[in-house]
C-alpha cells in the first residue's frame, strides 16, 4: 500500500540520538510566500535539536481555507497529496498551530467517509506537530542558544492554544533567550480577529477585535510582539502599522533561532 508508513516512523517520545529523526517541514503557504525567514528559522531550530530536515517541494497548502468555507471537495483536493508526500517522514512539523491543527484534528474529519484514507490520515495526525511544542515535548529541548536584548509580549494564537494546547512551550524557550524578558498581555488568549477569510468577510468586526488586541499589545510596553502563526501576525502587524505604531513584530521561531538579524520584522521598515 502506497501510504504505508515506513518502518522508521514509529513516534517515540524519547528519541534515540542515532539515527536522527527525519522531519518533514510543512512550510505553510503564508510562510512560503510572505516570510521565508520563518521557514529557515524552523530548519535551524530543528537541526540544532538533532533532526534531519527535509522539505518536500511539491507541498502547497493544508486545505484549511476551503475546509472552513464549507467546500469539502476542494479541501480534499488540496489536502490529499500531502498525506502521501509525508508518508515516509518520522515527523511532520509546521511553524503554525493552525496548519498543524488542521492536519492533526481536521484531516480525520475531512476524510471520514473515505475508508482507504483512514489509516494514512491517522498516521499523519499522530506524527504531526506544531514547531515549538515539537521542540519542547518531543525533542525535549530545555533552552535555545539565542540572545535578544529587550522585552517581548506573546499572543497565543487560537488553534495552537485550544486545539494543540500550545501555551507554556514557547514561554519556556523564550525564557532561555539571553537578555529577553516577557511582558504578558492582559488577555493573551483572546482572538486577534484574523480567522482566515473571516477578516475579509466581516472586516468591521475583525477590525474591532484586532483594535482591542493592538491596544492590549501597546499597553504591555513590550519592544516586540511575537506569536506562532503568520495569519495572526500579519493581522496584528498590519493593524499596528495602520495605527502608526512601528513596534517590531516577528514569528517566535525567528527569536528562538536567533535570526532577528536576518531580516527586518514583519511589515518593518528598512531601518531594521
Amino acid at each position: 500500500m502506497s501510504f504505508a508508513p515506513s518502518s522508521t516512523s514509529t513516534p517515540s517520545s524519547t528519541p534515540d540520538p542515532t539515527p536522527k529523526p527525519r522531519v518533514g517541514l510543512f512550510v505553510t503557504c503564508l510562510v512560503d510566500m510572505f516570510r521565508p525567514t520563518v521557514g529557515f528559522s524552523a530548519v535551524k531550530l530543528l537541526e540544532e535539536a538533532g533532526c534531519v530536515v527535509d522539505v518536500p517541494m511539491e507541498q502547497v497548502c493544508c486545505g484549511q481555507p476551503a475546509f472552513n468555507a464549507g467546500d469539502l471537495a476542494s479541501a480534499r483536493k488540496v489536502a490529499k497529496p500531502l498525506i502521501a508526500m509525508f508518508a515516509d517522514h518520522d515527523y511532520v512539523v509546521a511553524p503554525s498551530g493552525s496548519c498543524a491543527g488542521m492536519m492533526i484534528k481536521h484531516f480525520p474529519e475531512l476524510f471520514a467517509n473515505d475508508p482507504e484514507m483512514a489509516e494514512p490520515v491517522k498516521a499523519l495526525a499522530a506524527k504531526t506537530w506544531e514547531l515549538v511544542s515539537f521542540l519542547t515535548d518531543v525533542m525535549k529541548l530545555q533552552g535555545v542558544a539565542a540572545a535578544f536584548d529587550g522585552s517581548i509580549t506573546y499572543h497565543d494564537s487560537c488553534s495552537g492554544l485550544r486545539e494543540l494546547k500550545v501555551k507554556e512551550q514557547p514561554r519556556k524557550l523564550l525564557r532561555s533567550v539571553t537578555g529577553l524578558s516577557i511582558n504578558e498581555l492582559q488577555e493573551p488568549e483572546t482572538c486577534c480577529g484574523f480567522g482566515g477569510t473571516f477578516c475579509v468577510k466581516y472586516p468591521e468586526i475583525s477590525g474591532k477585535m484586532v483594535g482591542d488586541k493592538t491596544t492590549d499589545i501597546k499597553n504591555s510596553g513590550a519592544d516586540m510582539l511575537l506569536a506562532g502563526d503568520m495569519g495572526c501576525l500579519m493581522n496584528m502587524a498590519g493593524k499596528l502599522r495602520r495605527e502608526g505604531s512601528d513596534m517590531e513584530v516577528r514569528h517566535v521561531a525567528e527569536v528562538l533561532a536567533d535570526m532577528t538579524m536576518a531580516a527586518p520584522g514583519i511589515a518593518g521598515s528598512e531601518k531594521g
Partner: protein, 476 residues
C-alpha cells in the same frame, strides 16, 4: 418572534459597532460574567468531570428522547397536571391562548422564558387583549422599551441604568417625576413595588423551564429574583413552556447539571432560587396554582435529532459561550437578528428558521474555539458552525465571488508548479508595492483587508525558491 433581521447581520453589526452606548455596555461582560465564572470554576476541582457527566446525561436522554418525554408526560398527568405537545410556534401560542380563555383570564404574568421569545408569545397575547407583565427585571425593562432581549440570561445587558430610570419615569404613572432613581437599589425597589400589585391580580402565570424531570413529572426553573416562584404560585394557572430537549431522566441528573449551570452562567454556585413545580396545588398544600400545564414545544428540534446538529440539543442556555465570544462582545445580541445570539445562536438559529435566513451567523466566527472551551455541555460549537457552512456551500448560498475564489484557489493549489510560479510572481510584486515601508496601505480587490489594516509585504522570494537555491548551492 416571527421576523428575523439575521439577513441584515452585516448592517446590524455595523450599527452596533458605532453605537457608543452599546459598546460601553458590552464592556461589562468581563467583570460581570467572565471573571466570575473563572473564579467559581477555580474553586471546584471536579468541574471537568462534572462537564463530562452533564454531557453524558444529555446524550443518553437525546438517544432515548421519546421514552423520557412519554415518562414525563405520564408523571405530570398522574400528579393532576396537563401536557400539550406542540409541533410549532403557532400551535403553542394557540394552546396558551385556549388555556387563558378557558379561565377567562385578563392578565398574564411571565417568568423569564426564551421559548416565549421564540414563539413571540407576548405580542400575540397582547393582540388578544390580554395584559402581559414580565416579572424578571431584565425582561420587564425590555418589555417597557419594546425591545427583544440581547442576551439569553441578561436580556437587558445592553441597557444602562440611566435608560432604565427614563423608562420607569415614563411608564410608572402617579409617582413624583423628580424621585431619585440613580441607584440600582432605587430602581429595584420601584420595580418590586409595581410588580407586587401585578402579582396579586394575576390569573395565569407563564414560566419557562430549565429542566423537565421525567421520573417525577417536575418542571424546574432557576432565577435570582424569586420572580419565577411568585409567578407560578400566586397565579391560578401555571403554564410551563419548554422545548423537548429540556427533559432529563432523574432528579439526580438535574442536580448534576445544576452544578455546572450557574457556575458557567454567572459564577454562582447555585442560582438564588431553584424552584421545582410538580403538578397543581394538592388539598394539603398552602399555596400553588389550581391548574398546572406543560407546553412541550418541538418547533424544529426533532429535525435536528440524528443529524450533525444533534449535539446542540444538549444546550442548557447558560450563556457562557456568548459571554466569552469576541464577536458577541463586539456587536452584542441584537445584531444576530433573532432570539438566540452568540455562538449557540449561530448554530441553533439556522436550525430553527433556516440557513437561508440565518446564513451569516455561522460565518461570522473566527473559529477561535473559546465558546467550546467554556461550554459546560461540551458542545462543539465551531464544528457545527462549519457544518452550516458546508450546507450553505451545497445549497449555493453565500456570495458567489467567495465560492468562485475558493474554487479557483483550490485549482491552483493542486498544481504545485503553477502555484509556485504564481506565488513567486505575487511575492515579488507585493514586495515592490510595499516599498521601503514593507507594508501596503491599499490594494485593488483586497479592500476587506486594507480598509482595516496594512498588508505586510512579502520578503521577495518564496521559501521554496530560496530553499531550492540553497540546496543547489550545497551540491555545487
Amino acid at each position: 418572534m416571527e421576523n428575523s433581521t439575521s439577513p441584515k447581520f452585516k448592517q446590524n453589526a455595523h450599527d452596533a459597532l458605532n453605537d457608543a452606548s452599546l459598546q460601553r455596555a458590552l464592556g461589562r461582560l468581563k467583570t460581570g460574567f467572565k471573571d466570575k465564572r473563572t473564579a467559581a470554576i477555580a474553586q471546584l476541582p471536579e468541574f471537568e468531570q462534572l462537564r463530562d457527566a452533564a454531557r453524558d446525561i444529555k446524550n443518553h436522554t437525546l438517544a432515548n428522547l421519546d421514552h423520557y418525554l412519554t415518562a414525563f408526560e405520564a408523571n405530570v398527568i398522574a400528579n393532576g397536571g396537563h401536557v400539550h405537545w406542540c409541533a410549532d410556534a403557532e400551535e403553542a401560542r394557540q394552546t396558551v391562548l385556549k388555556i387563558c380563555q378557558d379561565k377567562d383570564a385578563k392578565s398574564v404574568l411571565k417568568g423569564k422564558s426564551m421559548i416565549s421569545e421564540e414563539i413571540g408569545l407576548n405580542a400575540f397575547l397582547e393582540k388578544q387583549d390580554l395584559k402581559v407583565v414580565e416579572t424578571d427585571l431584565g425582561e420587564y425593562i425590555i418589555q417597557l422599551r419594546n425591545e427583544p432581549p440581547s442576551h439569553i440570561i441578561a436580556p437587558a445587558i445592553h441597557v444602562h441604568k440611566e435608560q432604565v430610570a427614563d423608562s420607569f419615569r415614563a411608564t410608572h404613572k402617579g409617582r413624583d417625576i423628580n424621585r431619585p432613581l440613580d441607584e440600582p437599589r432605587e430602581l429595584l425597589d420601584e420595580a418590586r413595588e409595581v410588580m407586587r400589585e401585578h402579582f396579586f391580580a394575576a390569573d395565569v402565570g407563564i414560566t419557562g423551564a430549565n429542566f423537565l424531570i421525567a421520573e417525577t413529572g417536575t418542571s424546574v426553573i432557576v432565577t435570582n429574583e424569586g420572580n419565577g416562584d411568585l409567578t407560578q404560585t400566586l397565579s391560578k394557572v401555571h403554564i410551563a413552556i419548554a422545548s423537548l430537549e429540556k427533559v432529563v431522566p432523574t432528579l439526580e441528573d438535574a442536580s448534576t447539571i445544576l452544578r455546572v449551570l450557574a457556575r458557567s452562567a454567572t459564577g454562582q454556585e447555585m442560582s438564588s432560587y431553584t424552584t421545582f413545580s410538580t403538578g397543581p396545588r394538592r388539598t394539603e398544600d398552602l399555596d400553588g396554582p389550581e391548574e398546572y400545564h406543560v407546553i412541550l414545544l418541538d418547533n424544529g428540534r426533532s429535525n435536528m435529532l440524528g443529524t450533525e446538529f444533534q449535539d446542540m440539543l444538549r444546550c442548557i442556555r447558560c450563556a457562557a459561550c456568548m459571554n466569552h465570544c469576541p464577536v458577541y462582545g463586539a456587536v452584542g445580541g441584537h445584531a444576530y437578528g433573532w432570539v438566540y445570539p452568540g455562538p449557540m445562536g449561530s448554530v441553533l438559529t439556522p436550525s430553527l428558521i433556516g440557513v437561508e435566513e440565518a446564513g451569516h451567523l455561522p460565518n461570522a466566527s473566527t473559529f477561535c474555539g473559546k465558546c467550546e472551551e467554556v461550554c459546560p455541555m461540551r458542545i462543539p460549537l465551531p464544528k457545527m458552525m462549519r457544518h452550516w457552512r458546508e450546507r450553505e456551500f451545497e445549497k449555493h448560498l453565500g456570495p458567489q465571488s467567495m465560492r468562485f475564489g475558493i474554487q479557483a484557489w483550490a485549482w491552483m493549489a493542486s498544481q504545485p508548479k503553477l502555484y509556485q510560479f504564481a506565488t513567486g510572481i505575487a511575492a515579488r510584486a507585493l514586495k515592490l508595492i510595499g516599498g521601503s515601508k514593507r507594508a501596503i496601505r491599499k490594494l485593488p480587490l483586497a479592500s476587506g483587508w486594507t480598509d482595516i489594516r496594512d498588508l505586510p509585504a512579502p520578503q521577495g522570494k518564496t521559501f521554496k525558491q530560496l530553499w531550492a537555491e540553497q540546496q543547489a548551492a550545497k551540491k555545487a
